[in-house]
């Protein structure tokens, strides 16, 4: 299933947030979105997932979601959004319970996604007992449990320290190598965007417009941290973003 963002614009009252965004999200690819703070990345992601309606334009879905997908468009949140009163397994069960799968099937799914995210031993732990990286892995496991067509990830790693971030990034790359999932990956971090994105969409400062779309041909699992090609792409992205970021930084917050 592919998604297409079609001529999308949005304003909150007088505040123009996004302007004429058109974008393809082909199945099996990760699209990274970067842009200065406040340019509307999270807002765009909310439109893509249908949590909000844009003022203009639309999101078009091409093809059917895969068989057995319980929640085709599934978010992974920056702050994990785990229910603190439920265990790891309970948090995953939450998104399955409404589908009437029967407890055996539900249990099977939970065991499966926990294994895939290397969380099996933490099945009965409460969120407060987990580190930030573990919590995000639980959130990813929860997303995988509903067998999504597209994962919508809003800065999933930015609440984590840099070592954990590296580890989790490796996990995500592994996961992609195995499952070839489709994702929209919003981030501030150029290195993340370059490591994980098949395409990198650069947005301008608010109102967000597409400044540039960079496609990287190197397969995800072949990318190395020290790869000079990636470093040069990162350098280029930074030169594009630098001015935008600086200007955005000087704007009054409530513009």
């Amino acid at each position: 299933m592919d998604l297409r963002v079609d001529a999308l614009s949005h304003r909150y009252g007088n505040l123009e947030v996004l302007s004429d965004i058109s974008l393809d999200i082909p199945a099996g690819q990760v699209v990274s979105i970067i842009g200065p703070s406040g340019c509307g990345k999270s807002t765009l992601l909310r439109f893509i997932g249908g949590l909000e309606r844009p003022s203009e334009g639309q999101i078009i879905q091409r093809g059917q979601p895969p068989e057995g997908s319980l929640n085709p468009l599934t978010y992974v949140f920056q702050d994990f959004a785990l229910l603190p009163w439920r265990t790891v397994a309970g948090n995953i069960a939450l998104v399955l319970e409404d589908h009437g799968l029967g407890s055996a099937r539900q249990d099977e799914i939970i065991t499966n996604v926990l294994a895939r995210t290397k969380l099996s031993e933490f099945r009965d732990a409460l969120p407060k007992q987990l580190s930030g990286g573990m919590k995000q892995r639980v959130a990813i496991a929860r997303a995988l449990a509903v067998n999504p067509a597209v994962m919508l990830m809003d800065e999933p790693l930015s609440a984590l320290d840099s070592q954990t971030r590296e580890l989790l990034m490796d996990d995500l790359i592994d996961l992609w190598a195995r499952e070839r999932f489709t994702a929209v990956y919003v981030t501030h971090n150029l290195a993340e965007a370059v490591r994980l994105g098949h395409q990198i969409v650069v947005l301008s400062r608010r109102p967000g417009k597409i400044r540039e779309i960079i496609t990287i041909e190197t397969p995800l699992d072949a990318r190395r941290r020290s790869d000079p090609e990636l470093a040069s792409i990162e350098e280029r992205l930074w030169s594009v973003m630098r001015d935008e970021a600086q200007a955005a930084d000087l704007e009054l917050v409530d513009g």
């Binding site: 997932g49 949590l51 949140f77 702050d79 603190p84 009163w85 319970e97």
Partner: protein, 289 residues
């Protein structure tokens, strides 16, 4: 704290010794960095509370024994204790305690339950909020005691009016606490629920209600304390039995020993209720960090 000081002193001596043969310019003395991170942090010292209690009561007993405190001002603690003994031996304690506990339990259960239900509705539905928040705000400051004669006409002089008084008194703070708690449920969790297409009922039951629990519990603490306060008011009219009636009777007879005994029972009731609530809270809110 003492440990740290000791440590740095040791380090200083060591350094001075080690650097003894190194040339020091005159007047360059070594000093320890002054510790200035103390205070502003309370830690529990378990024995102070009981000691303060014992000292207070001892002074009080001494004062009343010697006549330094006149028996018009305060009763002797030993006499109050004697009154307790009498209450216990004659079985009057339970004669008063059981009706009061029943009134408290029934009244506050009705009030708190209704309060939580209305509070959740206010938290969830804009129309209910618009309609009921002003009503609740209007009821809240009414001294419920003032309505007692009215309740007697409505619900009878028996238990009905007493339940109603306690129920109304616990209801309003519970409503306010509950809808505040619902409002304070982490919006990102609700958004998460929606993003997984959970049904409305599931979101309310699995996200909103558990998320509002901490707020509901703190509301319960306030409401139940009010419930105990209202016990005395509820037993003002038409009650011969009950701790509140006992206190009122003691007051009207200027019987200070019984008055104090009754008041102590009420405050003990408050402590017990709070303790039990704490236990339940620890279990139910085990997930809190």
């Amino acid at each position: 704290m003492a440990d740290t000081t000791h440590h740095s002193l040791g380090a200083q001596t060591e350094r001075t010794a080690a650097g003894a043969d190194k040339p020091h310019s005159a007047g360059e003395a070594n000093t320890t960095v002054r510790y200035r991170g103390g205070g502003f942090r309370t830690h529990s010292i378990f024995w102070v509370g009981p000691v303060v209690f014992v000292v207070l009561i001892a002074v009080w007993e001494w004062g009343t024994q010697t006549g330094f405190i006149s028996n018009l001002t305060l009763p002797k603690p030993s006499d109050v204790l004697g009154t307790f003994g009498e209450l216990w031996r004659t079985g009057t304690l339970f004669e008063h305690l059981i009706p009061s506990l029943t009134r408290f339990a029934v009244g506050s259960a009705m009030g708190c339950l209704a309060g939580v239900i209305i509070g959740v509705m206010i938290g969830l539905f804009s129309h209910v909020r618009a309609g009921l928040v002003p009503v609740v705000a209007a009821i809240f400051p009414i001294p419920k005691i003032a309505l007692l004669p009215l309740f007697i006409i409505w619900f009878g002089i028996g238990e009905g009016s007493k339940y109603a008084l306690i129920a109304l008194g616990t209801f309003t703070p519970m409503v306010v606490a509950t809808y505040g708690a619902v409002d304070n449920v982490d919006r990102t969790l609700i958004r998460m629920g929606q993003s997984f297409s959970l049904s409305w009922a599931s979101i309310v039951r699995k996200i909103v209600l558990p998320g509002a629990m901490p707020g509901i519990f703190s509301g319960l603490r306030v409401s139940l304390a009010i419930g105990i306060i209202l016990l005395v008011a509820a037993e003002m009219l038409g009650a011969r039995r009950g701790i509140g009636a006992y206190i009122l009777e003691a007051g009207s007879l200027y019987d200070l020993e019984r008055l104090f005994a009754g008041v102590i029972i009420l405050s003990a009731l408050g402590v017990v209720v709070n303790f039990v609530l704490g236990l339940i809270e620890d279990r139910v809110l085990r997930w809190r960090s």
